[in-house]
């Protein structure tokens, strides 16, 4: 992972400095004189030669210091930690939604190929793959908020007039439960529904397809046939198939979780969520070098960890891997 972080950070540093656009000009504004821009550039440390800037960057990185955001004025690490819970809450809820709804749906469809769910899943799989999540978000807002007025506005994580619960984890739902603030709890959950549904909806298509094809291929396999010949009950045979179908499904879900992180960027922007995704977008627009570098490194580490977790899950689920070990 260290080499991954080093490589990505070096690449990011190079790309950022190659892309045209001067962040000092953004800070100084369109009426910034050359002197004002030069002064701002000096404050930002951009006057230093590139190798000195790179050296400063790595010497801070070793100490987990990502520098200051030129636009928030705070340490980037502090900004990330402030915004991280919002993104985690969104991702977890979207992920849980996708797993709880779409995996069982896929399993049911796989065991009942002639059921009504088969046609729905086929259509859904096609639509979900072609709908952009931000468009879906805007449509849901239009229908459920603007027209029917039955959902909260796309304006953050909690009603503006509701007191935010004491910060323990930063996840509003969990914190509300821990501090037993029911008003905040209901508000936080209600604000979560649409954005997490958007995330889950787009990811659900591949989950269902993989679940169905994985289980079906096992149901047609020789060892399940053999089990049938031996007189094992259908329920038992299904359990065998399910167990063996789990590894590829888990792998896909893990990979999709990484995709969900990038999907969260658009969802956060549409719903003004205030998470890491929206922060990243702002950093890119404003060419906030420190923030962009920090977020990319952070995402690289998270992605690596997720793949590690997938490997561990695979190890635990698949007995053949354990035997090889």
């Amino acid at each position: 992972m260290v080499f991954v972080v080093l490589g990505i950070s070096l690449f990011t540093f190079a790309i950022l400095h190659l892309i045209p656009g001067d962040p000092a000009r953004v800070v100084a504004g369109p009426a910034g004189t050359e002197e004002a821009v030069a002064r701002v550039r000096e404050l930002m440390g951009l006057e230093d030669p590139l190798h000195i800037q790179l050296y400063n960057f790595y010497s801070r990185l070793i100490r987990f210091d990502f520098g200051e955001s030129w636009f928030s004025g705070k340490s980037v690490l502090q900004d990330i930690l402030t915004r991280l819970p919002a993104t985690v809450e969104l991702l977890l809820s979207g992920f849980l939604f996708a797993v709880i709804v779409f995996v069982p749906l896929g399993i049911f469809t796989a065991f009942n190929p002639r059921s009504w769910t088969n046609k729905i899943n086929r259509a859904y799989g096609l639509i979900a793959g072609s709908i952009p999540d931000f468009w879906l978000g805007l449509m849901l807002i239009l229908i459920f908020y603007v027209i029917f007025r039955i959902v909260p506005p796309p304006l953050g994580r909690i009603d503006i007039a509701t007191s935010v619960p004491l910060k323990i984890t930063g996840l509003l739902v969990i914190d509300s439960l821990l501090t037993w603030k029911t008003e905040a709890l209901f508000s936080a959950i209600s604000y979560l529904v649409l954005p997490s549904f958007c995330l889950a909806f787009v990811m659900g298509g591949p989950i269902i397809k993989m679940t169905i094809s994985s289980i079906r291929s096992l149901l047609d396999s020789s060892f399940i046939e053999y089990a049938k010949i031996l007189g094992l009950k259908e329920k038992t045979r299904r359990m065998y198939a399910l167990k063996n179908a789990a590894p590829p499904i888990v792998t896909l879900i893990g990979v999709l979780f990484n995709y969900m992180i990038s999907g969260a960027v658009m969802i956060e922007t549409v719903f003004s969520w205030g998470g890491l995704g929206q922060y990243a977008v702002q950093a890119i627009i404003n060419k906030d070098y420190n923030t962009i570098q920090a977020i990319i490194i952070f995402m690289a580490v998270v992605a690596s960890l997720i793949y590690l977790l997938i490997d561990i899950a695979y190890f635990l689920i698949d007995p053949r891997v354990q035997e090889v070990k």
Partner: protein
């Protein structure tokens, strides 16, 4: 059909709907809290830079200036505006003279355009060169420090050190250096100009605008050897005498301002102002219509139409000073030839642009000065769509078959693309092939003010937000001006600009102002297209919003009924 599965799915669906609707979505916002949805938040709090209209809004809440404009109600537009139209010169005096032989400004006079702010009394010498500002006693900053003449002196000194927009404003008012300043006592400061230039008054009269007065005691605490005027600290912090205090700033999410109990004018009506960043304009529209926000800014013309037909909402509109122009680079071929520039001006269908791009919400821009300011002219109306004339000019210039060039625009400006497409189609009819190049904001800014290597581009973001012809010309059309995006230079224009500043005779001054605008338009320094207008979506119960020349919101004047 498996009813069990169906029941499970239905339960999940109903549960979701219940969860989503469990909070009242039509909750009314508290009456003393204003929520604004804007496309972005302030870039920073540096009052010496111009930043953006969002930055100007934030600064206006945190800082006050020496003077303020009076607020007048414009019957034609149904909106309150800063009293620019009274500013000729805008200061009327009490009878008699003061002990120092000066005149004292009569704030109550209906012909006086200003009202006192941090300056309580203003004396002006009979020759209009010396201004004595008597400061308000007891005005405290958000750090509890009392306003003194040292704060004003320090702020002005900092203007010159920072070399930002504030310095330009000072020089536009013939304030060139600190040797013109004299602190007379703890609460009195004198400014002497080399020439009678009333622009200095207009510059001082922006509520928390660029020439805001800072708390020098607090700023000095954050100064360092490398940063003697606390530039780094001021980017993110405010030490001002304004009506609000910034209590929360989550970059990319929201800014929360709380009313100051100890504000010298009394606690503002609105206890809290929340500015939320909502990047998508469709969402800002939805939030306004749904009542989740009180004000929505930066709506597209089409969205404004939707607001007008939504119950409980309205659009406040005013011509404003925000300009749209096509700017050519006079240092790049073929636009160094005036005939080519004129040809481009004849290749634009101005009416089409106003109708199809702005949906009738913008007006034709007549020249370098928006017509909300006195002395604005309409010489730009001489240009209209005329393909034959354009072809004739191009042929004269040596381009009988047209030429190729690249038309740049900022991809974050939603209407720029439509403008660019219209211009490309129109220009093609005369053989001018324009390749469209949309670039991100930061890159656009770099090219606009740094490398200046765009041959032709759409500019929707500029406005001379102070009145005064010489102010607007000095910003954009003088050699060496930081807003001279077109690299325009005419020695006669530069000369006139200097002379206007010192001309005392109003008739001669008016003539020079007329001439300078005519030259700039005739030589096509810019192709002036539209005055986009100041348009704000508000709920019906929001009252008191005022249009200022910087087109920023001034929510400190608002209240909710």
């Amino acid at each position: 059909m498996n009813f069990r599965l169906l029941k499970v799915l239905l339960t999940i669906g109903v549960g979701l709907i219940f969860l989503a609707t469990s909070t009242s979505t039509l909750a009314v916002l508290p009456k003393d809290m204003l929520v604004i949805a804007d496309s972005s938040l302030a870039i920073n709090l540096e009052y010496d830079f111009s930043g953006s209209t969002q930055t100007a809004t934030a600064i206006s809440l945190l800082y006050d200036g020496l003077l303020d404009w009076k607020i007048v109600y414009n019957e034609e537009y149904g909106v309150s505006e800063a009293a620019y139209r009274l500013a000729t010169p805008g200061a009327h005096f009490k009878p008699g003279k003061t002990p120092r032989g000066f005149y004292e400004v009569d704030w109550e006079s209906p012909k006086t355009a200003f009202r006192p702010s941090l300056c309580e009394r203003l004396e002006i010498s009979p020759d209009w060169k010396t201004y004595v500002f008597h400061l308000r006693r007891g005005a405290k900053s958000n750090y509890g420090n009392e306003l003194t003449a040292e704060d004003v002196r320090y702020t002005w000194e900092r203007n010159f050190y920072m070399h930002g927009y504030a310095e330009y404003k000072n020089t536009a008012g013939s304030f060139y250096g600190m040797d013109q300043v004299k602190v007379l006592d703890k609460y009195t400061i004198q400014l002497t100009l080399p020439e009678p230039n009333t622009q200095i008054l207009y510059n001082r009269a922006e509520t928390g605008g660029i020439t805001s007065i800072a708390d020098s005691i607090e700023l000095k605490k954050h100064a360092t050897e490398n940063d003697p005027y606390a530039a780094k600290w001021v980017l993110k912090n405010a030490a001002g005498f304004g009506p609000y205090e910034l209590v929360e700033w989550e970059s990319g999410n929201q800014m929360v301002f709380v009313a100051r109990e100890d504000y010298y004018r009394g606690k503002p009506r609105l206890s809290k102002i929340v500015i939320k960043e909502v990047p998508t304009s469709a969402n800002r529209l939805a939030l306004l219509i749904g009542g989740a926000v009180d004000i929505a800014r930066d709506l597209t013309p089409k969205e404004r139409e939707m607001v007008k037909s939504a119950p409980g909402c309205q659009i406040l509109s005013h011509p404003g000073s925000l300009m749209t122009a096509i700017i050519t680079n006079l240092k790049m071929k073929p636009f160094d030839d005036i005939r080519v520039r004129k040809a481009m001006a004849y290749l634009i269908s101005y009416e089409d642009i106003l109708e199809t791009v702005y949906l009738g919400t913008a007006t034709r821009l007549g020249g370098p000065v928006a017509d909300i300011f006195p002395s604005a002219t309409h010489y730009a109306f001489q240009f209209d769509l005329d393909y034959e004339k354009a072809k004739e000019l191009l042929a004269e210039a040596g381009y009988p078959d047209g030429f190729e060039s690249t038309l740049f625009y900022d991809l974050t400006q939603p209407l720029s693309e439509r403008l660019a497409i219209l211009l490309r189609s129109s220009a093609a009819k005369a053989g001018v092939k324009l390749k469209l190049e949309k670039i991100p904001s930061a890159q656009f800014l770099e090219k606009l003010t740094g490398t200046k290597d765009m041959p032709i581009f759409v500019n929707e973001r500029d406005m001379p937000w102070e009145l005064g012809v010489q102010f607007a010309i000095g910003l954009y059309h003088i050699e060496g001006a930081f807003g001279n995006f077109s690299n325009y230079y005419n020695p006669r224009v530069d000369q006139l600009w200097r002379e206007i500043k010192r001309e005392e005779d109003p008739v001669k001054k008016a003539k020079m102002e007329d001439e300078i605008q005519k030259i700039v338009v005739d030589e096509v320094s810019w192709i002036f297209l539209a005055q986009q207008g100041w348009h704000v979506g508000v709920r019906d119960y929001v009252k008191g919003l005022v249009m200022y020349g910087d087109n920023a919101l001034r929510p400190q004047f608002a209240w909710k009924e």
